[in-house]
């Protein structure tokens, strides 16, 4: 019997995950928490085998950062990141934090049990790609990594001059990338682009 800790600030989402865990005979729900940082403290109690960790939790706490802390202190605890946000960096950051698996909530509950089983059997289950979202006329996969980096800076409210310094690029290059993105999406201003990117959750501001 594997002991499970669920971390999600939405009662509804938590309820669904709890039902899923309770229905399975191989898993036992130990506790559900709203705050990712409280989960880090909770893991001190021992007796947790698996954490189902939401990314964006109570008060904007970062589930990926909390996962990294749990993994550094308790490497034997398995962590599955669960999210519904198609944020382009989440998969990459979850891997960097040492999380064992990653599951998109919208896929369906049957799958989470499968991911849990495979994870507990030592497998690392990650989706091949982030779900595709449309930004204007462009698909999210049409943006280059450099463009996404600059887009993230724009979303965080950083001016072009500062982006150039931060990314060690010339202002002209930064503007070139922005122009490329505007051409792809069909937007006239970077403001329109930024608002759509945030609205589609391709990038979450300051997260």
């Amino acid at each position: 019997m594997h002991r499970v800790l669920i971390v999600d600030d939405s009662r509804t989402a938590r309820g669904i995950l709890e039902t899923c865990v309770n229905r399975s005979e191989e898993y036992m729900l130990v506790r559900s928490l709203e705050s990712a940082e409280n989960a880090v403290v909770y893991c001190m109690s021992g007796g947790i085998d698996l954490v189902l960790m939401d990314v964006y939790t109570k008060n904007g706490e970062n589930g990926l950062e909390a996962s990294a802390k749990i993994k550094s202190m308790y490497p034997n605890i398995k962590i599955i990141v669960v999210t519904s946000m198609p944020e382009e960096s989440f998969i990459r950051r979850a891997k960097k934090a040492g999380c064992d698996s990653f599951w998109y909530k919208d896929v369906g509950e049957e799958e989470i049990l499968d991911v849990m089983n495979r994870t507990m059997n030592g497998e690392s289950v990650y989706p091949l790609d982030t779900p595709v979202v449309e930004i204007g006329y462009a698909k999210s996969y049409e943006f280059t990594q450099k463009e996404l980096e600059i887009l993230r800076d724009l979303v965080d409210g950083i001016a072009i001059k500062e982006i150039a310094i931060k990314r060690d690029l010339s202002e002209r290059t930064v503007k070139y990338h922005i122009t490329n993105m505007l051409q792809k999406t069909g937007y006239k201003t970077s403001m329109q682009l930024v608002v759509d990117v945030v609205n589609q959750k391709l990038i979450v501001p300051e997260f």
Binding site: D9, S10, R11, T12, A13, R14, G15, I16, E18, T19, N22, R23, R31, L33, E34, S35, E37, N38, V40, V41, Y42, M44, S45, Y56, K58, N59, G60, E61, S84, M85, K105, D106, E109, V155, D156, G157, A159, M191, V194, V195, V198, N199, K201, V204, P205, E206, F207
Partner: protein
């Protein structure tokens, strides 16, 4: 020949008549020669640099110029410089070193002092702006002090305008950022909606299956299958109530529960305690250290809010360390607290107490 003879004859015979004309002609010629000599001298003078010409040239410059020996004794001070020194209220006219000392101290002056692009700059009441630069120049193994004062009124005005625009831009970015965060938060609402839709769908599937079973439309569908489907639907509703009630102290209460699970009773003493990220981080850090290193069973958090600051003291009944070395957790907490203008202190007197003062942003 006849004509010449006639002229000589006439001249000789009319000497008295023609004498004044000859004198006048001589004078005119002399005047022309004198004027020519004078012009030549003027041209010559213009080609040579003299003390006077330097004085005139520097006085006509639109900048303030003060050139002095290395020991400060002035060599050239132009008219504009005198005017500026007088208008600003400097007293050390007779020494470049004294003058520069006054520039650097900039006290009790008539013009407002600012540093602009790393230079001492003075703002006059009439709106003009003058920037002081001091250099040491070397000529023939000697060193000289050169103080140049430039009129940067237009440049300064444009810079001010750019600075104002940048401030406005930053304010707008901040406002935009806050709006963007709100958009990001709607993600949770969408998530909830999708979950509710899934529950709705499951109920729909259960109803459909029941109808098909009751009307014998599907031979493969057994009573057990239908009951299982309804059980799943009901289970979902029973797990929790699905209202997304949000309270402003949920994370704090949750942390108290977590402390209980760890065998450490947490008492929070304060009125109207609300979740505060910084305070929660401090309590978590204390709780973790108190349980892990101090074997504490009780942790007391006293909170007071006044004048826009949240003051909290967090103590525990665990083993008191002789000395606290701020490692990863405490040092990052200190950075976090101090980055928002707060303070953090650790006291070791009978018990370990962590005190934090955090500004409250509303």
């Amino acid at each position: 020949m006849y004509f010449m003879m006639n002229v000589l004859l006439v001249t000789k015979t009319n000497v008295e008549y023609y004498q004044p004309i000859a004198v006048l002609s001589t004078l005119i010629v002399f005047a022309y020669v004198s004027l020519f000599v004078m012009l030549v001298n003027v041209v010559k003078k213009k080609r040579n640099i003299t003390k006077g010409s330097i004085r005139t040239a520097t006085d006509n410059l639109p900048i303030g110029l003060y050139i002095a020996r290395e020991d400060g004794v002035p060599i050239i001070v132009n008219r504009k410089m005198y005017e500026l020194m007088n208008n600003i209220g400097f007293k050390s006219y007779q020494s470049a070193l004294g003058l520069w000392e006054e520039v650097e101290k900039h006290k009790k002056l008539k013009a407002k002092h600012v540093m602009y692009a790393g230079c001492h700059t003075f703002l006059f009441k009439d709106g003009s702006v003058w920037r002081f630069n001091k250099d040491t120049i070397g000529i023939d193994n000697s060193k000289y002090i050169q103080i140049v004062v430039n009129d940067i009124t237009s440049l300064y005005s444009l810079s001010e305008q750019i600075r104002d625009n940048n401030e406005e831009l930053k304010r707008q970015y901040k406002s935009l950022n806050s709006m963007l965060k709100n958009i990001a938060d709607t993600g949770q609402q969408e998530e909830i909606l999708q979950s509710k839709m899934r529950i709705h769908d499951q109920f729909g599937r259960s109803l459909l299956a029941s109808r098909r079973y009751l009307n014998h439309l599907d031979d493969k569908l057994g009573l057990d299958d239908v009951i299982k489907m309804w059980q799943q639907s009901v289970e979902r509703l029973n797990t929790d109530n699905f209202s997304e009630e949000v309270t402003d102290d949920a994370a704090t209460k949750e942390l108290m529960d977590v402390a209980n699970v760890l065998g450490c009773k947490m008492i929070i003493d304060g009125d109207n305690v609300k979740d505060n990220d910084m305070l929660l981080s401090a309590i978590r850090e204390c709780l973790t250290n108190a349980v892990r290193h101090g074997k504490a069973t009780k942790i007391v958090v006293k909170i007071k809010e006044n004048n826009g600051f949240l003051k909290a003291s967090i103590s525990n009944n665990g083993i008191v360390p002789e000395k606290v070395v701020e490692g990863g957790g405490l040092s990052s907490l200190r950075k976090k607290v101090e980055s928002v203008g707060g303070t953090m202190n650790i006291e070791l007197s009978g018990e370990m107490v962590l005190k934090v003062v955090i500004p409250v942003f509303k």
